[in-house]
C-alpha cells in the first residue's frame, strides 16, 4: 500500500519539505509586509506595532496564557479541518459544528444530575464530539449519497446550527436570572481547572494530545494513506479500491466531531455557560490556521500559536497604539492569499 511514497527518491521528498517550509515562511513574511501597509493606513508605525504585538502575546506569562486560551479551539478545529482538507473534503461548517457540539455537551452538563465531575466532563466531551460529528455527518452523507457540494451545504448548516443553538439558549436552557441572554451556568465542579500562574484552562492539553494523534493517523495508518491518496487523485483512489463515499462521510464526522469538542472545551474552560458569543469566529479562523499550517499536524500547531498571538497581540497593540482591532482580521485575510501564492511558486 505504501509504494507510492517509497517509489519517490528520499532526497526529493526532503527537498519538497524544505521548499514547503520555505514557501510558508515567505508567505508569512509577505503577509506581515502587507499587514504593515494596513498599519500605515490605520495611522500606526509598523515596526513598533509588530513589536507591541509580539510583546503583548509572547512577552509575558499573562499574555502567553491568553494566547493559549485562543490556541485551544483553533488547534482542535484546525487539526480536524487539516485532515479533511488533505482528502479534499472541504468542510467550512466548523462554526456550526462548534456551536452544536457546545450545545450537546453543555446540555449534558447542565441537565445530568451527576456529581461525579470527572465523569461528567468526560460525558460532556463525548456529547460534544457526537453533536459536532452528527452535524458533519449530514454534510458527508449528502455528498456521498447524492453528490451534494459539501462546501455549500456545510456553510448553510452553519446558519441553521447557530439558530438551533440560540433557540436552546433562549428557551429550554435559559437562565432567567442572567442579565444577558445566556443558559444556566454549568456546575462549578465541571469547569476545567486552570494551570497555576498561567491563567489558562487545561483545554489546551486536549489540543496538544491531538497533535501526535492526528500526525500518526495521517502519516502512519492505512486510513491516513487513503485520505492522502484521495487528496492527490480521487479517481485513482477509487480505482485502487478506496471506498471514497465512506471516506467522505468519515472525514466529515471526524472534522465535525473535533469542532464540536472544541465547542464544549470552550464552554467548560472559558464561558462556563452557553452564550451566542461563544465563538469569536473560530470555525473560520481555523481554516486560516489549517491552510497556514499546510494541513500538517505540527504545522497546524505552529499556525494556531501564531494566529492566536496575532489575535492577542492585536488586542494589545490596538489599545496601545489606538489602531482598529479589526486590523488583525485584515492581516489574516492577506495571509491566506499569500499562502496560496507562495505555495504555487514553491511547486513551480
Amino acid at each position: 500500500m505504501t509504494t507510492v511514497e517509497l517509489a519517490l527518491p528520499h532526497v526529493s521528498r526532503r527537498a519538497g519539505q524544505i521548499r514547503t517550509i520555505g514557501a510558508t515562511l515567505a508567505a508569512v513574511a509577505l503577509g506581515l509586509a502587507a499587514g504593515s501597509i494596513l498599519i500605515v493606513i490605520a495611522g500606526g508605525r509598523p515596526w513598533s506595532t509588530y513589536r507591541d504585538m509580539a510583546g503583548g502575546a509572547y512577552g509575558s506569562l499573562f499574555g502567553f496564557g491568553a494566547v493559549l486560551v485562543q490556541t485551544a479551539p483553533l488547534l482542535v478545529i484546525g487539526l480536524g479541518l487539516a485532515l479533511a482538507f488533505r482528502g479534499r473534503v472541504y468542510n467550512i461548517g466548523a462554526e456550526g459544528q462548534f456551536y452544536i457540539g457546545a450545545l450537546a455537551g453543555g446540555a449534558a452538563v447542565i441537565l445530568l444530575p451527576l456529581r461525579l465531575y470527572p465523569l461528567l466532563i468526560a460525558l460532556a466531551m463525548v456529547a460534544g464530539i457526537v453533536g459536532g460529528g452528527a452535524w458533519g455527518w449530514v454534510v458527508g452523507k449528502l455528498r456521498a449519497r447524492w453528490g451534494v457540494n459539501e462546501v455549500i451545504s456545510s456553510l448553510l448548516l452553519n446558519y441553521i446550527g447557530i439558530f438551533v443553538f440560540s433557540y436552546a439558549v433562549r428557551n429550554p436552557l435559559r437562565d432567567p436570572e442572567a442579565s444577558s441572554l445566556a443558559s444556566k451556568a454549568v456546575p462549578d465542579g465541571s469547569r476545567l481547572p486552570t494551570f497555576p500562574h498561567l491563567f489558562t484552562h487545561v483545554g489546551i492539553l486536549v489540543g496538544l494530545a491531538l497533535v501526535p494523534l492526528v500526525w500518526y493517523v495521517m502519516d502512519r495508518t492505512p486510513f491516513g494513506f487513503r485520505v492522502r491518496m484521495m487528496g492527490l487523485n480521487a479517481d485513482a483512489a477509487r480505482v485502487a479500491g478506496v471506498d471514497t463515499s465512506r471516506m467522505i462521510v468519515r472525514l466529515m464526522v471526524i472534522s465535525g466531531g473535533l469542532a464540536g469538542l472544541a465547542g464544549i472545551v470552550q464552554v467548560l474552560g472559558v464561558q462556563g455557560r452557553l452564550e451566542t458569543t461563544l465563538s469569536q469566529g473560530y470555525g473560520f479562523t481555523a481554516i486560516v490556521v489549517a491552510l497556514l499550517g499546510r494541513l500538517r499536524a505540527v504545522g497546524v500547531l505552529l499556525a494556531a500559536l501564531f494566529v492566536s498571538g496575532l489575535i492577542v497581540g492585536g488586542q494589545a497593540a490596538s489599545i496601545d497604539q489606538g489602531l482598529p482591532y479589526a486590523i488583525v482580521l485584515g492581516i489574516q485575510g492577506v495571509f491566506v492569499v499569500f499562502v496560496l501564492v507562495a505555495d504555487r511558486f514553491a511547486r513551480a
Binding site: V151, L156, R170, N171, I327, V336, V337, L340
Partner: protein, 319 residues
C-alpha cells in the same frame, strides 16, 4: 395570526425586491461557472461591494457613486480570484474560501477605521421608488413589478442580459465552450484563459452590484455581517437552476419570497414572545436553499454541470 396581512400584494413586491441582490450574484456565478471557474469567493465579493457602495454613497452623498464603487470592489476581487484560479491555477475551492476571508478581513478593518468600533452605522439616503406611469396602475402586477427603485430594474435587466449574452452571442458560445471543453475551444482559437478572466471580472462586478443593491437600494446602512450568507445561497441557487440564468433567477425569486415571508410572519407573530420560535423563521431561507439544492442534485441524474467546472486549463496538457 393575520394571514391575509401576510399574503398580500406587498409580500410579492418585497419578495422581488429582496431577491435582487442574491439574483445578481447568482446569475454572475452562473456566468463564470459556465466558463468553467467555480467561484466560491462570491460572498466576499458581495460583502466588498456592499461596503464600497456604502462608503461611496456616504462620502459622496450619491447613490450613483456608491453603486460604481460597489461594482469596482467586486471587479477587483474578481481579479484576485482570476489571478489565483486562472493565472496561478491553484485549487479553486481553496481560492474561493481565501477570497471570502480576505474580503471579510479587509472590510472589517476598513469599516472600523472609517466608522469606529461602536458598530452603529450612519444611515445613507435611501433611494425613492420609481412609479412607471400607466403600468404601475395595473392591479396586483403594478405595485409588484412597476413600483420599485431604479436599481431593481437595472438588476432585472442585467440578469436577463446574461441569458442573452450566453445563448445569443458569439462570445457566449465561447464562454460555454470554455466551460465544457476547454481543449476543443482552444483548438478553435478561443483564448481560454482570457475568457475565464473576463467571466470572473463580470461575475465579480455583478456580485459587487448585488452588494450595492442590498445597501444603497434597500437597507441604507452597513454592518460587517450584512450579506448574511447571500453569496453562498447564490452558489446553491446556480446548482438549483441547473446553470441556466433564467432558472437561477427563478431560484433567487423563491429565496426572496421566503425571506419576505419569514420577516412578515416574525413581525406579525409577536417576535420574542411568539409560540413558534423566531429562530425557525430566521433559519427558513437557509433551510429552503439547502432543501432545493439537495432536491435539484438528487433529481438530476443527467448532469447539467459544465464538464470542466473547477478544472484549470493548461494549454497543451490533456485533461
Amino acid at each position: 395570526m393575520d394571514w391575509s396581512a401576510i399574503f398580500g400584494v406587498s409580500l410579492f413586491a418585497a419578495g422581488l425586491r429582496l431577491a435582487m441582490p442574491t439574483a445578481l450574484a447568482a446569475v454572475g456565478e452562473c456566468f463564470c461557472e459556465r466558463a468553467g471557474v467555480l467561484n466560491l469567493g462570491l460572498e466576499g465579493m458581495m460583502l466588498a461591494g456592499a461596503f464600497a457602495s456604502f462608503v461611496g454613497a456616504d462620502y459622496a452623498d450619491s447613490a450613483a457613486v456608491g453603486v460604481a464603487a460597489g461594482i469596482g470592489a467586486g471587479v477587483a476581487l474578481g481579479a484576485v480570484m482570476a489571478f489565483l484560479s486562472v493565472y496561478l491555477k491553484t485549487e479553486q475551492v481553496i481560492n474561493g474560501i481565501a477570497v471570502v476571508i480576505f474580503a471579510q478581513g479587509l472590510t472589517a478593518f476598513a469599516y472600523e477605521k472609517l466608522y469606529g468600533q461602536s458598530g452603529a452605522s450612519p444611515q445613507i439616503t435611501p433611494l425613492s421608488n420609481v412609479r412607471i406611469p400607466g403600468l404601475a396602475s395595473i392591479p396586483w402586477l403594478g405595485p409588484v413589478l412597476f413600483e420599485q427603485n431604479v436599481l431593481f430594474y437595472v438588476a432585472l435587466a442585467l440578469t436577463l442580459g446574461v441569458w442573452v449574452l450566453l445563448y445569443r452571442t458569439r462570445f457566449g458560445l465561447s464562454v460555454r465552450a470554455v466551460g465544457e471543453a476547454p481543449a476543443a475551444a482552444d483548438a478553435a482559437a478561443v483564448h481560454v484563459d482570457r475568457v475565464r478572466w473576463l467571466a470572473l471580472l463580470v461575475c465579480g462586478g455583478m456580485a459587487g452590484l448585488g452588494g450595492a443593491v442590498l445597501v444603497v437600494g434597500q437597507l441604507s446602512l452597513f454592518n460587517v455581517g450584512i450579506t448574511a450568507g447571500r453569496g453562498w445561497v447564490a452558489i446553491a441557487l446556480v446548482i438549483f437552476g441547473r446553470w441556466n440564468p433564467l432558472l437561477v433567477l427563478g431560484g433567487a425569486l423563491l429565496f426572496g419570497l421566503t425571506d419576505a415571508l419569514q420577516l412578515r410572519i416574525q413581525a406579525s407573530s409577536g417576535g420574542i414572545n411568539a409560540s413558534v420560535p423566531y429562530e425557525l423563521f430566521q433559519a427558513l431561507p437557509y433551510l429552503v436553499t439547502l432543501a432545493v439544492m439537495v432536491a435539484a442534485t438528487v433529481r438530476s441524474r443527467r448532469n447539467a454541470q459544465p464538464s470542466a467546472l473547477g478544472v484549470p486549463f493548461t494549454k497543451g496538457v490533456s485533461q
